[in-house]
């Protein structure tokens, strides 16, 4: 008798909850827009937030409602933008894909330190202690917050303690730029065209040259050299207008500290990766 009761009780309870769940699932279904699901399907699903929304689902919702553009997904690039546009039956708009660029070349051999830092190996932490251990308060600390922030494995720490971007892998999501406490990483449109002033220091010339051999000293030699008036001085830092720059290279010749580089001549990721790999191997064998 006892066993019958046990079986009945458990059976009825199970049946009750089964029915209850089945009914509630039917009654309380949340209608999700099939279009949103379709858009969500073609997105990369990395939930990186580069589009400005919390995740891919939120972005999909915004696109369907017309609040976001079809090419808003930066990591997905052209392919995804095309697919999203196709799902929604809209015209495809060319997406300009940005790429992360590090605006500092003052590595450990070129820029001085102010004190020996022995704390947590994070740029954000180091930066908060007396303005960082680097003598230049604008320069890269090289502790790799950007490397850890990158979910696409596109940034690696180079040989002399400066991050190097693999432009092939970089999706332009901007997570590294956000992670950098000194705002050294900027997002630029992808491409090899143009010249860049690879320095972020807004200090005066003398202050820069005393701490870093390759920082912009605001001497204005490049401004005079530029035949197309593409360079302006903004708060002690030369800035090149990429629209006007025609890659003549006059400024590179005139730049005394050697801060200006042709974009295509920025040390490529491969070299730095090879160097890093060799160093690691060395460590392992040791």
């Amino acid at each position: 008798m006892l066993m019958t009761y046990a079986i009945l009780t458990l059976g009825i309870l199970g049946l009750f909850f089964g029915l209850l769940l089945a009914v509630t699932a039917r009654v309380f279904t949340v209608q999700s827009d099939p279009q949103v699901d379709a858009v969500r399907e073609v997105l990369p699903g990395a939930n990186c937030g580069a589009c400005g929304y919390a995740g891919c689902v939120n972005f999909a919702g915004a696109v369907v409602q017309g609040k976001a553009k079809t090419n808003g997904c930066i990591p997905g690039g052209e392919e995804t933008a095309r697919a999203v546009a196709e799902v929604l039956g809209q015209k495809f708009e060319e997406a300009v894909q940005p790429v992360a660029t590090v605006f500092c070349i003052g590595d450990v051999t070129r820029a001085a330190d102010r004190y020996i830092y022995d704390g947590v190996k994070e740029c954000a932490a180091a930066n908060s202690i007396y303005g960082g251990f680097k003598a230049c308060r604008y320069g890269c600390l090289g502790l790799g917050d950007c490397v850890r922030a990158c979910i696409f494995d596109a940034i690696k720490m180079g040989k002399h303690g400066l991050p190097v971007v693999d432009s092939e892998k970089c999706t332009g999501c901007g997570l590294c730029a956000e992670a950098c406490p000194r705002d050294i990483i900027k997002m630029l449109p992808k491409g090899e065209q143009g010249h860049l002033v690879l320095c972020s220091s807004h200090d005066r010339g003398k202050a820069v040259s005393s701490v870093c051999s390759v920082g912009c000293i605001a001497c204005k030699a490049c401004i005079k050299a530029c035949p197309r008036d593409a360079i302006v001085m903004e708060d002690n830092l030369a800035v090149i207008d990429q629209e006007k720059c025609d890659d003549c290279g006059e400024c590179v010749l005139k730049c005394k500290p050697g801060t200006i580089h042709k974009r295509s001549a920025i040390p490529t990721a491969d070299e730095a990766f090879a160097a890093a790999g060799a160093a690691e191997e060395k460590k392992e064998t040791a």
Binding site: A6, L10, F17, G18, L21, T24, A25, F28, G119
Partner: protein, 193 residues
Amino acid sequence: MEKILSIIFIYILVENFVLQRFFGICPFLGVSRKTETAMGMSMAVIFVMTLATLVTWLLYTYILVPFRLEYMQIVTFILVIAGLVQFVEIVMRKISPVLYQGLGIFLPLITTNCAVLAVALLAVRQEFTFIESIFFAIAASIGFSLALVIMAGIRERLEMAKVPQALEGTAITLITAGILSLAFLGFKGMLTL
């Protein structure tokens, strides 16, 4: 009234579910990385524990005891708690999307949590009345939340602290949990039921 007050005091501090009874260690270590998520989890636990105890107490008293099926309490309680949480999740998703966004992720996590089952089982074993059981569940879950939020606060600070390499990560977390548990031992014996 006096008994209810002492139940509340005892199960928040003296017999803290996580730090003295060692229930629910998994979420205690798993979701205590950020204070924000710890708060979310705490709210979900308070909600689920109270609801589960309420229902299981009724089930025990009015179905299991009359049929002399007390030995089936664990099986039935698991079934009821799992079904109930699932039900609440579906309903909540429809009726209050805001609440669902806040608690939703944590609800399935605690469905099968031992702390929830422990509250339901202890409530009947201690022979609490209906009202006492509810306050017992609330106190136990607040105790759980207290431990979780304290732990999250400590861990946020630990992130910035210099930890010997051998102890980094889980090791230092477990040591911290142990010390926290020792600290709560100070309440031992202050009050008994």
